[in-house]
């Protein structure tokens, strides 16, 4: 099946052509949102971070923002800063330019002389970017250009029976065609790590599997609490999931059956093709944001209880794991895998349907989360606010 996307000058490939209004600091959120509202064809990313952060926590937030500014799904970005913040807008923009991304512009509220002037300046720049973006055409691309992300959230007992095995089938197909597949949510791999260790490409990756899981589990042990309640969540338990081990053993199916090539940190770009594990929390939006910041252009998200979420810059395909949820939240769902539960379709049949959907969405078909304007964004913080 022919795939169509946007080839960028740095060799990366986008499946969307957004103009992004990105605030570098919480104080610039209002201005960024007003630019977005004024100029049709833009998306905005706002957040509560950008100041009073130190060390690896600051670096992780910085890396995430740069990953969005320089994302191949983005034609151009306006970084909006205040002027006195730690997360300097110009530094974010410069790192995005260093990544080879063209069309990175900056608006600084203190330099422009206040809210109204900054909105006007940003809207002028965004207006021009949207006009130019509209003249770029799709070209033929292939799966070697794609970093495909997997996610599950609001899981139920069907996630491990239908949605995740079907997604795993699709992941294998993408790996076999030369693509990269990200498996993430480290918390939700506790109890399934031995299966990934067995599939690791070498001893270094195998050891890292246990290190990453141990670090996550130790942080819970250090708090002196039972993980149950957060993992599995109350909704997971209502859906029939009893323990984190059971949840993880259902989750791990998403990554299919191919060898694990590497483990990367949050919001880092994969350096290998094939199956890659990104070390993220299980929190849906922090995970989603980390994978997209790592350069992933498209996400498949399975859900048992039903979740509406999407990314500001990447299409997120929702797969219901059971037919009740597919019907109950029909406007949020792209595909029903519940037919596996009822015995009407096999894992392979739904996996094939999902693969065709992924190809269509890469080439421009809109997902329900895009149509409904779901633009969730959340950065995983790993340090104190100072």
């Amino acid at each position: 099946m022919k795939l169509m996307g946007y080839r960028r000058s740095n060799g990366k490939v986008g499946v969307r052509n957004h103009v992004l209004i990105l605030s570098s600091i919480v104080c610039a959120n209002h201005v960024a949102d007003h630019i977005f509202r004024q100029v049709a064809g833009t998306v905005s990313v706002t957040h509560q971070h950008g100041c009073a952060q130190v060390g690896s926590d600051f670096e992780q937030t910085f890396r995430t923002l740069v990953g969005f500014a320089a994302h191949p799904n983005v034609y151009g970005t306006v970084v909006v800063g205040l002027g006195c913040e730690q997360m300097e807008a110009e530094r974010v923009a410069e790192a995005a330019r260093q990544a080879g991304h063209e069309n990175i512009e900056v608006v600084i509220i203190q330099q422009e002389g206040g809210t109204l002037k900054a909105i006007a300046k940003g809207a002028q720049i965004a207006r021009e970017l949207v006009g130019r973006a509209s003249q770029v055409s799709r070209e033929e691309i292939n799966f070697e250009d794609i970093i495909f992300s997997t996610e599950c959230g609001g899981s139920d007992a069907c996630s491990g029976i239908s949605g995740n095995p079907a997604l795993g089938y699709c992941s294998d197909k993408i790996v076999d065609q030369g693509g990269t597949v990200i498996l993430a949510e480290t918390t939700e791999l506790i109890g399934a790590e031995h299966l990934l260790a067995e599939r690791s490409v070498d001893d270094t990756v195998r050891q890292r599997v246990f290190q990453v899981i141990n670090r996550m589990e130790q942080s819970i042990l250090d708090m002196g609490v039972d993980l149950r309640g957060a993992q599995p969540s109350p909704g997971n338990m209502q859906g029939g999931i009893t323990t984190i081990e059971e949840k993880s053993l259902g989750c791990v199916h998403k990554g299919g059956h191919r060898a694990l090539q590497e483990i990367i940190d949050y919001a880092h770009q994969p350096t290998k093709k094939g199956l890659v594990w990104m070390d993220t929390p299980g929190h849906d939006i922090e995970q989603l944001t980390g994978m997209v910041a790592g350069g992933s252009q498209i996400v498949v998200f399975t859900t048992g209880r039903g979740t509406p979420t999407g990314s500001p810059i990447a299409p997120v395909i929702k797969v219901a794991t059971n037919t009740f949820t597919y019907k109950n939240m029909r406007d949020n769902m792209d595909l029903n895998a519940g037919t596996i539960v009822t015995g009407d379709e096999t894992i392979e049949e739904v996996g094939e349907r999902l693969f065709v959907e992924v190809c269509d969405v890469i080439s421009g078909k809109l997902t329900q989360s895009e149509i409904l304007g779901h633009h969730e964004f959340g950065i995983n913080r790993i340090g104190p606010t100072c």
Binding site: G240, T242, E245, E246, V341, G343
Partner: protein, 96 residues
């Protein structure tokens, strides 16, 4: 008999209900290619698990052919296996 519950792997000692199941009835359980009947001791909601054999207190609960936790009391065949009688063995900071 149509199967209304599924066993994920041969080694499992629990099955997952594929629809809401009522007590005191025999349900078809798909175990690989085979179809077995289990008499349920209680109501099992959709997606929830029941024991397919007696699971003794302190022993492993197996699903997907893997350990998903331990029984905190004896669980009779056909009884609901969930948070009230199965505990997680991982992430237990409360037991440190």
């Amino acid at each position: 008999m149509k199967h209304r519950a599924i066993v994920m792997s041969r080694e499992d000692n629990v099955a997952t209900a594929l629809e809401d199941l009522v007590a005191n009835c025999a349900v078809g359980v798909r175990d690989g290619a085979e179809l077995k009947a289990t008499i349920l001791k209680e109501e099992i909601p959709f997606g929830h698990k029941f024991a397919t054999e007696t699971i003794l207190r302190g022993t492993s609960v197996i699903k997907y052919g893997q350990v998903i936790g331990a029984a905190t009391q004896d669980i009779q065949a056909g009884a609901h296996a969930h948070v009230h009688n199965v505990e997680s063995l991982r992430g237990r900071g409360d037991k440190q």
